[in-house]
């Protein structure tokens, strides 16, 4: 399983390194979304700083949809998904590999968007551990759930429109927990104990990673 996961993650990351879709298209999209939020909220820095945690995570969620769609589309061309199935890869390894590659890309996106929030909204991070921890756990959860729902929608003709519809509602816990953790970790946010929200993120990650390991094979076969 781990060998297959490493193989698939390496392949997906190599494809990303060549195509630079995440860095060249998805990240700029996220930054543009942040800029649009800033325009919508006006020039007053107070509401911007107050809303920055939520805006950051909304931008991450939208970027996640694009990153997952890219991960799915890589396997849609030229019968590549059949190639993976025919290789006899361990489905759990395949899921973990695809999810790990998406998670790695999301971490880079979060770094770019985090820098964008700091620069555009004037946010000052007071508890880097909380902020970084929420980004790490959030990336894992978003990648696991995204890979799972991406596989579910992969065989459908309407996958581009169906994926956000399926994915965005189920990642609300990540949005909530991530936002609360960021609020606790930046200056001017709501001081709060982040532990319950960290637990929520951990639980979300555990559920979707376990669920993906168990059901990715049947989903892949029926897609």
């Amino acid at each position: 399983m781990w060998r297959d996961a490493l193989l698939v993650a390496g392949k997906d990351l190599r494809i990303e390194a060549r195509s630079r879709v995440a860095l060249g298209q998805v990240a700029p999209f996220g930054v543009v979304a942040l800029v649009l939020f800033a325009f919508a909220l006006g020039p007053d820095p107070t509401p911007l700083r107050r809303g920055a945690p939520g805006l950051f995570w909304v931008a991450v969620l939208f970027s996640t949809v694009l990153a997952v769609q890219r991960s799915v589309s890589v396997e849609s061309a030229d019968g590549a998904r059949d190639g993976l199935r025919l290789a006899g890869l361990d489905p759990a390894g395949l899921f973990l590999g695809k999810a790990a590659a998406v998670a790695a890309q999301l971490l880079v996106l979060e770094a770019v968007l985090g820098a964008g929030v700091v620069v555009l909204f004037g946010v000052r991070v007071t508890d880097p551990l909380l902020v970084v921890g929420s980004c790490l756990l959030g990336a894992v959860g978003l990648a696991a759930s995204g890979t799972l729902y991406g596989a579910l929608s992969a065989g459908l003709r309407v996958k581009e429109t169906l994926l956000p519809f399926l994915l965005l509602p189920v990642v609300v816990p990540v949005l909530l927990a991530g936002t609360k953790l960021w609020q606790a970790g930046v200056a001017g946010g709501t001081p709060a104990d982040g532990t319950p929200w960290l637990h929520l993120l951990l639980a979300f990650d555990a559920v979707y990673v376990a669920f993906g390991v168990l059901v990715f094979g049947p989903i892949q076969e029926s897609a």
Binding site: L7, V8, K11, I15, A77, D82, L86, A87, L89
Partner: protein, 274 residues
């Protein structure tokens, strides 16, 4: 290529289908197909467009589950034991299963490693398929259709599976590559691999084949012996089993036989099968 399983040492057929029904939604892909392919045999699958040739190969590869009927591939259920079966078979499909952003070398390496194959065989396979020099470092996106086909064939050669399932292997290939496909099938067969070839151009493989089966409407309606069969005499007026004599009798036990319809009419024995 590494030797595959010896035809004479394994009693079970490489492929056995009994009343195989496969569906895509409510559309029947296979409608009760019966087929036995013995180990080491080369079988040509013929039929008009939409007859079910590709579906037959995809069912054999375990990519399409049966809605009814029975299937055994290399002695195993290709759906329940999919990992074990898939690592022993190679399917050359319509798609080349290549990633456009990876180079030829990276694509082949990934495919062989993913299937648990020996990467040490890759250089020889590439050489065999004419994939050398700068071509190896070329992204798949920049390859022609014929070159993509060559890469897919190189993966197959490097993996050296026990069962080769070739779907229109000559499509998009130039004359020299078509001749190469012929040689590859001959080599695979010579080391005991089983080959099932679906083709609209039977003349390109017929000489190598033991048998040709005709698929119409998702069923195998007739079969005939082909060029490679040394003993082409008809032993029964209704059923011909033209497989190599080295094949164990047990493997022959399930030979397709039923009252049937089509007559593909060649110089060889014509069989009537349902």
């Amino acid at each position: 290529m590494a030797p595959a399983a010896s035809p004479s040492s394994v009693p079970l057929p490489a492929v056995s289908l009994r009343g195989a029904v496969a569906l895509s939604g409510r559309f029947p892909l296979l409608a009760g197909a019966d087929l036995d392919v013995a180990r080491g045999e080369v079988v040509l699958v013929e039929g008009p467009n939409g007859a079910g040739k590709t579906s037959l190969l995809r069912v054999c590869a375990g990519l399409v589950p049966l809605a009814a009927g029975e299937i055994s591939v290399l002695g195993l259920d290709p759906v329940r034991k999919r990992t074990a079966v898939r690592r022993r078979i190679g399917l050359l499909a319509h798609g080349s299963h290549l990633y456009d952003d990876l180079t030829v070398r990276e694509n082949i390496r990934f495919a062989v490693r993913a299937a648990g194959g020996d990467v040490g065989r890759i250089p020889a396979a590439c050489e065999r398929l004419g994939l050398t020099g700068r071509l190896l470092a070329t992204p798949a996106a920049k390859l022609s259709a014929g070159q993509r086909r060559r890469v897919a064939l190189a993966v197959l050669v490097a993996r050296s599976p026990e069962l080769w399932l070739l779907d229109e292997p000559h499509a998009g290939l130039d004359a020299s590559a078509r001749s190469l496909v012929y040689d590859l099938v001959a080599e695979a067969s010579s080391i005991g691999a089983t080959v099932v070839v679906a083709s609209h151009e039977p003349e390109l493989t017929e000489e190598l084949a033991d048998r040709a089966v005709l698929v119409v409407g998702g069923r195998i309606v007739s079969e005939r012996s082909c060029g490679r069969t040394t003993d082409s005499s008809v032993t029964d007026s209704s059923v011909t089993d033209s497989r190599p004599s080295s094949v164990d009798d047990e493997a022959r036990g399930g030979a397709v036989a039923a009252p049937g319809s089509a007559d593909s009419g060649t110089n060889q024995a014509v069989v009537h099968v349902a």
